[in-house]
């Protein structure tokens, strides 16, 4: 079983998966942020590979990606940072990126390097499940990289079951039909959607993301799933920060409440 799923199932609830864009706010902040997320008690780290054209992302992650690329982040120094962090950290690390980034590097070469440097999973929002299943599932399994597929309020039951079959880490339940970074409370309509998915009794654990930004939305997400994924809110907290370690600690502690 994939290590991410093991950890989620062992704890069972209140999983906190924190996303940040690698290379933001500075190139050398990757390792200290990973370490302080682990020290603060986050359960999983989702490391964003900055991309020039992040279609599914709102303005916060877009701008952090532009900044990270301007800072000189590339796949080479990103993998070096992950390897450095892995010398002391054991927290599961997921890489999130767009399919073109893997395609250009070479899928197998990328997976080999990811595995070698201690990456546990991947999220690739624009890789269709059907193509993954046909062309790449065996390769991801060979390098023990766990996939997590997205479902949304508009995803059909058939596709939800497909996501359940193909996700060996967790199912990423997108809280609403939107790009990342929405603020505001969780609506009754969203709660009904969470309940509908819960009633499907899927075999994969579920984490809720998109729009989870504070203690209240995190709590609500945890009531309906194994936990939550927070990204844009953390990027906003990191903006202009000189001391990423203390910002990270206070952010995680505020979210956990």
């Amino acid at each position: 079983m994939n290590r991410i799923r093991q950890i989620i199932e062992a704890k069972g609830k209140e999983i906190l998966n924190v996303y940040f864009t690698a290379g933001y706010p500075t190139l050398d902040s990757i390792v200290p942020i990973i370490k302080s997320l682990e020290d603060s008690g986050a359960d999983i780290i989702e490391l964003g590979m900055p991309y020039s054209d992040p279609l599914a992302d709102g303005v916060t992650i877009q701008q952090s990606s532009e900044q990270a690329l301007a800072n000189g982040l590339n796949l080479k120094n990103l993998f070096e940072s992950i390897a450095e962090a892995r010398k002391t950290c054991t927290i599961p690390i997921i890489m999130m990126g767009y399919f073109n980034q893997l395609l250009q590097y070479g899928i197998e070469d990328f997976l080999k390097l990811a595995h070698h440097n201690g990456v546990d999973g991947m999220i690739i929002p624009d890789l269709p499940m059907e193509i993954y299943k046909r062309d790449y599932q065996a390769l991801f399994a060979q390098y023990n990289i766990g996939m997590s597929f997205l479902i949304t309020p508009m995803t059909s039951d058939d596709r939800i079951h497909l996501a359940d079959d193909l996700s060996d880490a967790f199912i990423y339940m997108v809280s609403q039909s939107s790009i990342t970074g929405k603020k505001g409370d969780i609506s009754n309509q969203q709660r009904k959607y969470f309940e509908r998915i819960n009633n499907m009794k899927l075999k994969s654990p579920i984490l809720i993301g998109f729009g989870i930004h504070d203690n209240a939305t995190y709590r609500t997400a945890c009531n309906y799933s194994h936990g939550a994924i927070i990204g844009s809110a953390f990027i906003r907290a990191l903006k202009d920060s000189k001391d990423v370690t203390s910002i990270t600690k206070s952010f995680v502690s505020d979210i956990r409440g």
Partner: protein, 396 residues
């Protein structure tokens, strides 16, 4: 007959195409994929589409034998006058088709991306005609260099939203439109203006534009006694006018298909949009195609003086036509295109769009025979580029 240049059921043209979209867009794209051919084949739909093209757009557009241009290249050059369509370019063929489709899908809100502004104007026009809300995303840089088209869109009742991300041009406007569609998937139809994007867009746009090659067939028959030309030449950014001008000749080996790309300041200058030469296989805006990118897969900002051609990708059908050898590509620089604008204006009394001028500029690279019939898709008129022309002539 083996239609090897038409897409498979999954939208692949050889290695290119497909639908690489985030799950948030999957249901919209899949719904469109499942119904577009059926709707386009309905007699009622066809009737409405044909009537609007005739009575509102002004089709068929003329096929004009340009005598001086023919004499200077030593062959028979026919201009397919898409510049004479309502709104001044071929773009409206597609927006008429897609707005009728959107109405049948009960969509209330229309979004579009635009580079030169021609597609934005064509979309704003059909939205005004049908009484639908229209939001057009346009790069902040393009808003400046295509001010007349921005004014036209606003007069037509559209909201023009500047895309401030990335290079602030067509690529980024397309990103913003896709993000809008993710946020408003239920009530919104996205009218893509080029033969790009996830399946079924490249095929759908190509089919709506194929009225161009259909008319070329019958008009040439009438004028020359032959139903096919020896060459069809069209400029390519994303590729909608080329797709439409080529469509009925794709599987006719007697017809040579020629694409004109924007070399910008020169292919190797670092400021170019010559995608087929500088590009490699990758994914942009939901389809696998040729695109300009770094070794790390970051999409490169292209450059061309013409706002309609500075796109870092190319339609997946075009990528297939080029890599399979079916179509040939030549690249024209900004200067060559500007010279072609000036020549056609003086010699034929037609001021072409700067995009279109790239197709005229590459003619001298082709070795025509005396009796060759050559059709150039004169995709748009140059009024929108007046500011660019004035600046250029002032500086040179």
């Amino acid at each position: 007959m083996n239609y090897k240049y038409h897409p498979t059921i999954d939208g692949f043209y050889g290695d290119f195409g497909g639908a690489y979209v985030p799950e948030m867009l999957h249901s919209n794209v899949a719904k469109l994929r499942d119904v577009y051919e059926q709707i386009m084949d309905e007699p009622e739909f066809k009737k409405e589409f044909d009537e609007l093209l005739r009575d509102y757009v002004g089709r068929p557009s003329p096929l004009y034998l340009a005598k001086k241009l023919s004499a200077s290249h030593g062959c028979n050059i026919y201009l397919k006058r898409e510049d004479l369509n309502h709104t001044g370019a071929h773009k409206i063929n597609n927006t008429i088709g897609q707005i009728l489709l959107a109405k049948r899908l009960n969509k209330k809100r229309i979004i579009a991306e635009t580079g030169a502004g021609q597609h934005g104007v064509a979309t704003a026009t059909v939205c005004a005609l049908m009484g639908l809300e229209c939001i057009v995303y346009m790069g902040a840089v393009d808003i400046k260099r295509q001010a007349p088209n921005v004014a036209r869109m606003r007069m037509l009742g559209a909201t023009v939203v500047p895309a401030e991300s990335g290079s602030k041009t067509l690529k980024d406007a397309t990103n913003e439109a896709i993000r809008d569609w993710i946020n408003n998937a239920e009530d919104t139809h996205y009218i893509i203006g080029s033969a790009i994007g996830p399946h079924p867009y490249p095929d759908m746009v190509t089919k709506f534009q194929s009225v161009i090659s259909e008319e070329i067939q019958s008009q040439l028959q009438e004028k020359t006694g032959k139903d096919h030309p020896d060459y069809v030449v069209a400029c390519v950014g994303g590729g909608s006018n080329a797709a439409g001008a080529f469509y009925h000749f794709l599987h006719d080996d007697r017809v040579q298909l020629i694409l004109a790309e924007a070399a910008g300041k020169g292919i190797d200058s670092g400021e170019s949009a010559a995608t087929s030469i500088l590009g490699t296989k990758g994914i942009i805006h939901g389809c696998m195609t040729l695109l300009m990118q770094t070794d790390d897969g970051q999409i490169v900002e292209p450059y061309s003086l013409s706002a309609g051609l500075d796109y870092p990708g190319i339609g997946p059908m075009h990528a297939h036509l080029i890599t399979s050898g079916r179509a040939k590509v030549h690249a024209a620089t900004d200067d060559e295109a500007m010279n072609a604008v000036i020549s056609l204006s003086k010699d034929e009394g037609i001021i072409p769009a700067l995009e279109t001028a790239h197709a005229l500029a590459i003619l001298e690279r082709i070795d025509f025979n005396k009796n060759d019939n050559v059709v150039i898709c004169l995709s748009g008129r140059g009024d929108k580029d007046l500011n660019t022309f004035i600046d250029y002539i002032g500086q040179n």
